[in-house]
Amino acid sequence: MTNSIQEIEDNDLIFVIGSNTKENHPIVALRMIKAVRRGARLIVADPRRVPLVRFAHLWLQHRPGTDVALLNSMMHVILKEELYDKEFIVMMTEGFNEEFRTNLEEYPPEVGEKITGVPKEKIVQAARMYATAEKAGIYYTMGITQHSHGSDNVFSIANLALMTGNLGKASAGVNPLRGQNNVQGSTDMGCSPNMYPGYQRVDIPAVREKFERLWGVRLSDRIGLTASEMTFEAEAGRLKAMYIMGENPVLSDPDVGHTVKALKALDFLVVQDIFMTETAELADVVLPGACFAEKDGTFTNTERRVQRVRRAVSPPGEAREDSWIIAELSKRMGYEMTYNTIEEVFQEIGMAWPAMAGMTYSRLERGGLQWPCPTTDHPGTRYLFKGGFPRGKARFTVVKYRPPAEEPDEEYPFVLTTGRMLFQYHTGTMTRRVPPIEVVAGEPYVEIHPDDALALGIKEGQKVKVVSRRGEVVVRARVTSRPDRGVVFIPFHYREAAANVLTSSLNLDPLCKIPELKVASVRLEPIE
């Protein structure tokens, strides 16, 4: 997030796109509701009538995968009606040129309506509401990113914010809501094939030399494989071994069949986890780790806030803290990692990345600190880009609408979109072992519009076979007008009907390799 969660209260306008915030970031949604009660306007753009729609002044129900068309069309209106922030554009940005403007010409609201299914009046209204607000914040999640053109979607969001000067100030910005307790931290810490901790590129020699000095060892200058590429390389036999810590790619990655085949093709698979996950079942060695309540350390939340995690109970049996396991393995591989306390690791992070150099455990004791926090007297940073951008001027990007990689046809007439629901979490490793949660949300389902259900002869609660080009699952139908006609939704938490049996691992975003988990084509067959 460029802003903070607390700043949501002071938004004049909240634009939520591709985020089921009330179910998946419930506490962020509470701030949005609070803002609406204080008079903020709320626009929700989502193919489904997600619970937050109840609080919205405007709901744009666009077809899955048409975000670029929707956003470009909004920007078309803003351009035509001259609602853009001329001063901000001149002072703070570059690329608001003929090419950018001509591209927007191609997306009048009529075209927007045709592609997205959102009535043109609503597109115009949304554009005006967003552009005329003093402090407008955009909030998005995987509904924007998990597409074969996910990067384009994000560029479009950035364009919209830049055009209206909604960046670099309090309560106005671009705010991806991170889906996991420490997914922000994992990225910050350099668990990326092209970046060391702190977004420092592995292919820049000076950066590499800095880390070689810090770690006292020669480092590789080759950019590594992304998670999705690892699966392909493993299947092709070029990747021989994998060490997977606290992840369950069998259920979370697209095309379960493909993932399982790839992991089985490895010569050696080590999985470190707290439960025997679907992934661990395929391993050669399983190492028992410790869960959040059994260790000390820090998590970084969606607003870049680094907070202390504290040990409350001891791990079961001989399970050990993951840091201990990694250090022991490293020693046996011939590279000593010697730390007396976990805080010494934290101090080393500060040496590797200046944005966390000002943090110490004692400073994090109450409430944590938001990076960048470069010195020990720095209060942390509530919102980013105050007074300027790291690259100088922010750049507009020309983005053209591209349809999803897979579109419905006669054989597979429905668009399947996947996601989470309130009660369960991710692949269910944790929540499915909480008995009361299983009582209220223990069974997988497919949401289908009443008209489609009627046409197919599907009744509420009936078992339905959902078939895609990759595979099939059997789930109960939940007949509801939450999705539009032609769209069905399956949550991906359930191993017994894994939504990712149906999704495709081939349709990756060319830039960041994210798979298109939000759009796949399926057909539905009622089972008697």
């Binding site: 607390q6 009330k22 009660r37 109840r54 889906g179 996991q180 307790n181 420490n182 997914v183 922000q184 931290g185 810490m189 350099g190 668990c191 990326s192 094939p193 060391y196 592995v202 770690w215 020669r218 480092l219 590789s220 080759r222 590594g224 998670a227 999705s228 390389e233 071994a241 994998m242 810590m245 606290g246 992840e247 790619p249 979370s252 986890d273 439960f275 050669d284 190492l287 028992p288 959040f292 309540a293 059994e294 820090t298 607003e303 907070q307 049996g317 001989e318 840091s323 990694i326 393995l329 591989m333 990692m337 690791v345 934290f346 992070i349 590797a352 309130l422 979490y425 944790m430 209220v440």
Partner: protein
Amino acid sequence: MITLIIDGKYVEVPEGATVLEAAREADIYIPTLCDDPRLEPFGACRLCLVQIKGMPRPVTACTTPAREGMEVTTTNDEIERIRRTIVELLLSDHPNDCMVCEKAGDCTLQELAYFYGLRENRFWGERRQYSKKDNNPFIERDMEKCVLCGKCVRVCEEVQGVSAIDFAYRGFRTIVAPAFEKDLNCEFCGQCVSVCPTGALVGKLSLGKGRQKDIKRVDTICPYCGCGCNITLHVSRNEIIRVTSSPDTLNEGWLCVKGRFGFKFVNHPDRLKRPLIRKNGRFEEVCWDEALDYVAERLKEIKERYGPDAIAGLSSARCTNEENYLFQKFMRAAVGTNNVDHCARY
């Protein structure tokens, strides 16, 4: 800013503050049951009655806006007599079964009874009987212990935006209930449990697991989504029995169903307890030394034969920063590859 005088003390507060807020600002204690600074003022419990110079009768501090020059008395014999009577009346229609109540030690009503030294009660008569059990799996609702402060109703509507419960019936028969007195069927965020001043609402997972004494409280961060909610784990005998959150945190004390009630996985019998190595197609338990030696040996072997880029690592968004840092350092410095990623894309 406006200035008023409370118990002879000059207090400065911003325009729009209530007398109760002004008193708290000056560290003057006024008892309340229905007040929560995060909710709109309600004026239900009447315990915060104060006397204001020029007003004929005592008024509720929580609903009275502070005015310039106001002279407030928060305590004297008459006010305390009224407050004491209110508490007595509440106790006259209360099970008074503190010895078996889950809330004992953390109950505002119990505290007030203690404060006013109420052992005997001048009032007696019919008591509300409510035998209906709510069969929802998360929240125990005991309407006989309800003091009708309305905090649960208000938090559900004002904060959570759900309105799953409301007042039903009138007068003596008034209860808080879901529509048609059915079982509670809501988002189960448990916000209502967190604001309930008595034992009327408690988490079912905590029942009989231990009361306030001997509980170790540990402040940490929720392990689910990326909001980073601050939670307090209540631990008894190496088991998490309850999760709460303090109002002065970034999540203002609010949690969702997963954060508040989703902790049972921690001591689940399925937890992995010993390292496992697959031998002849089956997992066998081994000691740490054997497991670690074997992993290191195999990785070294593969690295020598195919080069370090034949090995890849997936780190975890569930693990700490420190562990993620060590994991990528292990892949880069010990193995020698940049093949390291995590689930940011899923």
